[in-house]
């Protein structure tokens, strides 16, 4: 086995350097400007650094429609989440935009960071967007809410980033070109990617270590960015994982770096998106547990595993796990596939229960959370968003 080729065959690099960067900086000063919010800037950086390979920019109309209806780009490459740049009608009028125009994209402070070559300006149906991506139009769903808040127009086209779009927690940020060198230097030929937005409990650790028994390395890749209320704060997740890795993992076969990206809570579709991103980082395998990227009860518990059967050409191997729990009879962490004992012996890793305990200032029992991890989490008066 060897590390996979990036999705679409090659790692996209739209971050300019040298003379190209200087030329773009000069050109940017003469062009109409569009300010981007934090989440769009994250998407911009992810495109520029190849995390979203093969995307070279925000989706044009043909790709957008194909992603919505076929879960693939127009050239049939698997892609499930629309990466779009939205603007209001007012902004469109102000910018006097037409296909073929070039725009300067700026951060919230007005600093110029990228050029965008606009290839497509199009309207869309928000209800259809929500229904196809989130399988619901219920505005209580955080992803649906966001769709309804988007501007009326979408801009598609390639980008060229020349400014620094600094990620949060930058000492934990690695680009795919860096993780690929890192995996190679470590001598890993197989790597399992682990997506998380939680502090680790023993269930997570067992999933990761079970995968580690048949791959060379585990790549723990927490999503950092906007999350829903009640999720753990990013800094808590990172500190908790640092404690876990320091105390319970061999340094030579575990790596953690962050993925600055907004959670969409699109369940099955987002599981595919998460797998594609980890493939770009160089992972050969991707761990998918129960209700991956889900929220509330919008998705069937294992829908995010079943969707992988639609993508035999994904280029990364999904590894499916049932949910783990602690069994007092087995005296270890197990799942329903391997434990013959009744539910009266089981303690689940319920996120709600863990949150309640931590909010009360209690230390979760060691069969649920490592004491070193619990201590770190308890240092925050309120560890939640």
């Amino acid at each position: 086995m060897s590390l996979p080729k990036p999705h679409g065959g090659r790692l996209v690099n739209r971050a300019l350097s040298g003379r190209q960067k200087e030329a773009a900086e000069r050109e940017a000063k003469e062009l109409p400007r569009l300010k981007l919010g934090e989440e769009l800037l994250s998407d911009l950086r992810n495109i520029a650094h190849g995390i979203y390979s093969p995307l070279k920019g925000f989706l044009c109309e043909s790709d957008f429609e194909n992603v919505l209806y076929e879960k693939r780009l127009a050239d049939d490459t698997p892609w499930t989440i629309p990466i779009v740049l939205d603007i209001s009608e007012d902004e469109r009028r102000r910018l006097e935009l037409r296909d073929g125009d070039t725009l300067t994209l700026c951060d919230a402070g007005g600093r110029e960071v990228a050029l965008m070559h606009v290839e497509s300006i199009y309207g869309y149906d928000k209800g259809e967007f929500a229904e196809k991506v989130f399988l619901t139009t219920d505005k209580a769903h955080p992803g649906v809410t966001k769709v309804y808040r988007l501007g009326e127009c979408l801009l598609g086209g390639s980008i060229e980033m020349f400014g620094k779009v600094e990620p949060p927690f930058s000492r934990f940020y690695l680009r795919p070109v860096e993780t690929r060198v890192l995996f190679k230097e470590r001598g890993w030929r197989s790597v399992a990617g682990f997506q998380t937005r939680n502090v680790p409990h023993l269930g997570h650790e067992y999933v990761q270590k079970t995968a580690l028994t048949f791959v060379d390395g585990i790549f723990i890749n927490p999503v950092i960015g906007k999350k829903k209320s009640g999720d753990f704060k990013d800094e808590v997740i990172l500190a908790a994982y640092e404690a876990l890795l320091r105390n319970y993992y061999l340094k030579e076969n575990a790596v953690m770096s962050i993925l600055p990206m907004e959670m969409r809570y699109a369940g099955p579709r987002e599981a595919i998106h998460h797998a594609i991103v980890r493939k770009n980082f160089g992972c050969t395998h991707f761990i998918v547990g129960r209700d991956h990227a889900g929220v509330g009860s919008y998705y069937e518990p294992y829908a995010a595993q079943e969707i992988f059967s639609e993508f035999p050409d994904l280029g990364i191997v999904p590894v499916f796990f049932k949910s783990f729990f602690y069994c007092r009879k087995c005296m270890t962490v197990v799942n329903e596939k391997i434990c013959p004992h009744g539910k009266e012996f089981h303690t689940s890793f319920s996120g709600t229960r863990l949150r309640e305990m931590l909010m009360r200032g209690e230390t979760p029992p060691p069969e649920i959370m490592r004491p070193e991890v619990a201590e770190v989490v308890k240092q925050w008066k309120n560890p939640f968003v």
């Binding site: 080729k5 679409g8 065959g9 090659r10 790692l11 996209v12 690099n13 209806y69 127009a74 050239d75 049939d76 490459t77 000492r171 690695l174 070109v177 860096e178 060198v181 890192l182 230097e185 790596v255 770096s257 059967s309 639609e310 993508f311 035999p312 050409d313």
Partner: protein
Amino acid sequence: MGEKEKEEKFKTVSIPASLFKKIEERIKGTEFTSVASYVTYVLREVVEEEEEEEVPFSEEDEEKVKERLKALGYLD
């Protein structure tokens, strides 16, 4: 998808019947649901292989990456 739209998005190519039969056999038990989806997958792999890297990654670039990885404590 309407017929016209399908015609615009997909084109027909011919392959020998014997090859078609072999592919049919090959995809049995896999998650490829048709010969067309398998052929598309294989051809895309071949085409991508032949395309050049957008920005070539030089040895010098690789050394810079290693330096950063060392500075961040990822490599000794």
